[in-house]
């Protein structure tokens, strides 16, 4: 583009925001040519050393840490959350093949998850009187789901990009409708109505896993089974990643036309990618059905799809470590944020951490904190003398921190209306903050922080179930803006 000038394609600090003038270069290419420029400092050295460690060692390390988790806690809830996270990791792993490796947007993915779960339920429950052995059911269901994925992909071969996405979405919704109303399926009203899926009542009383005589009945048992299955599938996917098929998928993702010209069987690869992803989803479905001992259609709708996508893309599509990290971040956050006490701690810790990270010279930070605290006490004093009902409530946490908050923050006795107004005002204030700079930003930050604390204490923490979803939304927005390629993803340039 610039004649013969030798352009250094990688900036000195690889983690800077994407420079739009770097057209046609991405991390993957640069790293493979070994031209990555290491940054300076301790963090960069640590990163260099970490990158020397081979991937399988990381996965093994993760496996060991995860295996030790149930031994350190007697709380079954934590193990249950771990199990749910493993299920999400498995789903994201399967989706990773379709989206991350082959670059196909599959919006009907959870239908395969449902197919696996319903398949297991139909073969191991009183519904049709079948009680097959688990070791027989799992291969049957996985293969059946893979074939289904193949069939769904078959007519969609010709479709590109978003058109493929929409057709997979249609298939997904079609399946949901069938699961939801599968207790009255009749062929155009001509035959009697059949009950296949139990409709909204689902299929209850599904058998637990029974692996060749070893009955898995408890949450901990399922956790270990899920962990073992996850590690096995992870290993397989990793090996496929390194193989010819994996490379072929990646070239299909980067540029389908060029791949086809290079002789890569693009259509066949698409079908295989779908089939593999579907198979993994089917496997995960059987695990789900085994633990929950009941299958309902509500689980296999767009809401679950959204979480799986969020996990995959947040972690970095195409990256196996990203799948693990993404699932941990999203699912654990969702669970931890349920409890108001935890959520408050996390809120203040994250706020403090962001301030420490972003407000650079220590003097500025100190001034900021002193000003905010001062403003708080002043406001508290003014309001408590002028309008006593403004400070009648109490903070949401106990202990020394809560006592401090009580004296600093305003707690009206009926906070609903004011809290709502303050929430809207806070949104505008935060948006405004991103638009100004310098000392003006610092000055505006002081009342904004106080307002944020006010809204948190009076409105958000009172409704933890709603707040948790608002916070997840904010986390997604902020993280994707900060790092569009995902936490552990590599930045790519997409040819649109």
């Amino acid at each position: 583009m610039d004649g013969g000038k030798d352009i250094d394609p990688v900036p000195a600090r690889p983690d800077e925001a994407q420079d739009p003038s770097r057209i046609g270069v991405d991390d993957w290419v640069a790293s493979h040519e070994g031209r990555r420029d290491r940054g300076e400092g301790l963090l960069a050295e640590i990163r260099t050393e970490l990158e020397r460690v081979p991937r399988p060692a990381f996965f093994a390390g993760f496996g060991v840490a995860a295996a030790l988790l149930p031994l350190f806690t007697s709380n079954d809830y934590i193990v249950r959350v771990g199990f749910d996270t493993l299920l999400y990791m498995l789903l994201a792993l399967g989706l990773n093949i379709v989206v991350g490796y082959a670059g196909l947007l599959d919006l009907g993915y959870v239908a395969f998850y449902g197919f696996g779960a319903y398949g297991y339920a139909m073969l191991a429950s009183p519904k049709f009187g079948l009680h097959w052995d688990t070791l027989a059911i799992i291969p049957v269901v996985v293969v059946a789901t893979a074939i289904l994925g193949f069939l769904v992909a078959l007519p969609s071969r010709r479709l590109l990009g978003d058109y493929l996405a929409i057709v997979t979405l249609f298939f997904g919704q079609l399946f949901v409708t069938v699961y939801q109303n599968g207790n009255r399926i009749s062929f155009l009203g001509l035959t009697r109505s059949y009950d296949l899926t139990g409709g909204p009542n689902g299929i209850p009383d599904v058998d637990n896993y029974d692996l060749g005589g070893l009955h898995i009945g408890s949450v901990r048992g399922y956790y270990y089974v899920a962990l073992i299955i996850f590690l096995l599938v992870l290993g397989c996917v990793y090996l496929v990643d390194l193989s010819r098929t994996g490379r072929a998928w990646k070239s299909l993702r980067e540029d389908p036309l060029a791949a086809e010209l290079m002789g890569i069987p693009v259509k066949r690869l698409k079908l295989i990618a779908f089939a593999c992803g579907a198979g993994i989803a089917g496997l995960t479905g059987t695990l789900f059905a085994g633990l929950n001992t009941a299958v309902f259609s509500a689980n296999f709708d767009v809401a679950t799809l959204i979480i799986v996508y969020a996990i995959l893309i947040l972690g970095g599509a195409g990256s196996l470590g990203g799948v693990i990290l993404g699932a941990l971040v999203v699912n654990v956050s969702l669970e931890v944020l349920r409890t108001p006490g935890h959520a408050t701690w996390i809120f203040y810790v994250v706020l403090a951490a962001t301030l420490i990270a972003k407000v650079r010279p220590w003097k500025r930070l100190a001034v900021l904190l002193v000003a905010t605290i001062g403003l708080g006490y002043a406001a508290h004093a003014i309001v408590s003398s002028a309008w006593p009902r403004g400070v009648e409530g109490s903070a949401s946490v106990g202990g020394w921190f809560g006592d401090g908050l009580n004296g600093w923050e305003l707690h009206p006795s009926n906070p609903r209306f004011i809290g709502n107004l303050a929430f809207v005002a806070l949104v505008f204030a935060v948006l405004l903050l991103t638009m100004i700079d310098g000392w003006k930003r610092l000055a505006a930050l002081v009342p904004t922080l106080y307002l944020a604390s006010f809204v948190w204490e009076n409105r958000l923490v009172v409704e933890p179930s709603i707040t948790r979803l608002i916070l997840i939304g904010v986390i997604l927005i902020v993280l994707m803006n900060a790092r569009p390629q995902g936490l552990l993803g590599t930045s790519r340039v997409e040819i649109v």
Binding site: I166, L169, F170, T177, V178, I470, L476, P484, I495
Partner: protein
């Protein structure tokens, strides 16, 4: 031949299809330029609907309205469109702008984050309850109750007529804007090739902001239409609508505005006729099966042109 059934289904399908078409139009505009799947679009539709409802409350509530119905409707539309447009512009500025050059799935997740934020923020501030426009009982003119009677004894309410006519007016206005004005031309150019447009001196940022504003304004208007005809307003109404908008936009052909309208109408009519003549239980399944067939027969959408693949 039961003409009453046929005509009623036709009217119902066209009305519902017009609402879908409006939402799909706004979605398609942004999609055509940025290739961005804006899943928060449905939530802007929800916000527009709530703004319209808020105006009804301000003017006395459905049964004690003390303004003229034409004035009320005009105000509702203007405020909802303005409000929706502003929210859309803010969302673009703060959530999507930095991701212009990122791979397309990144803004997808950001859009989901915005959607979570808007839906649950609305529940926090406005409550989870269903609210109703109650246009069947408006004291100035009960536009959903008063009706014309077509041949075959089918009734068409004023509200339905307002929705269809209003949607046509907005679509025509949009077409004129896109075809006849400078900004419209700039938008078409940017949709065609963003880099080339930038090189030709078009302010791409401004064009994108205008596209978001107009698209979101249309969604806001669709929210008011929905309220007038179908009454119900609640924080999670945008989710389903956003899904249909995406469907209609893609089925009609990516970035193709008349295609989005056609897609919306097709979905509305398919839903009606499937319910009326086939099975109400499996209405959704039938509609989706039909759409799958459409997509397989025409892989680039109804009015889409086969994408020229640049080597």
């Amino acid at each position: 031949m039961n003409w009453n059934l046929f005509v009623t289904e036709l009217v119902a399908g066209i009305t519902h299809g017009s609402v879908y078409a409006l939402i799909a139009l706004g979605f398609s505009m942004v999609y055509g330029i940025l290739k961005l799947l804006n899943f928060a679009h449905g939530d802007i539709y929800m916000i527009g609907s709530f703004i319209g409802y808020g105006l009804i409350v301000v003017f006395g509530g459905a049964t004690h309205l003390h303004v003229n119905v034409v004035l009320l409707l005009t105000l509702m539309f203007l405020c909802a469109m303005l409000g929706g447009g502003l929210v859309g512009v803010m969302v673009e500025r703060f959530a999507y702008r930095r991701l212009r050059n990122a791979p397309r799935i990144a803004p997808l997740i950001t859009a989901l984050g915005v959607s979570f934020f808007l839906e649950n923020g609305a529940q926090l501030v406005l409550g989870a309850q269903f609210q109703s426009y109650d246009s069947f009982s408006w004291s100035n003119t009960a536009i959903a109750s008063r009706h014309f009677t077509l041949p075959a004894h089918a009734n068409v309410s004023y509200a339905q007529v307002i929705v269809v006519v209003g949607a046509i007016v907005l679509m025509v206005a949009l077409t004129l804007f896109v075809q006849r004005t400078q900004t419209g031309k700039a938008m078409r150019a940017t949709a065609f090739d963003r880099e080339a447009a930038a090189m030709m001196g078009i302010d791409v940022d401004r064009v994108i902001v205008v596209a978001f504003f107009i698209g979101s304004a249309l969604a806001g208007a669709a929210g008011v239409f929905n309220g007038i005809a179908y009454q119900q307003v609640w924080p999670y109404m945008g989710f389903q609508a956003g899904l249909f908008a995406f469907t209609a936009a893609v089925v009609g052909g990516i970035g193709n505005l008349p295609g989005a309208v056609l897609g919306g109408l097709l979905i509305g009519l398919a839903e009606s006729f499937a319910t009326g003549y086939l099975s109400s239980t499996f209405q959704q399944a039938i509609v989706f099966a039909l759409l799958i067939v459409v997509m397989l027969v025409r892989p680039s959408g109804l009015l889409g042109s086969a994408a020229v693949q640049k080597v």
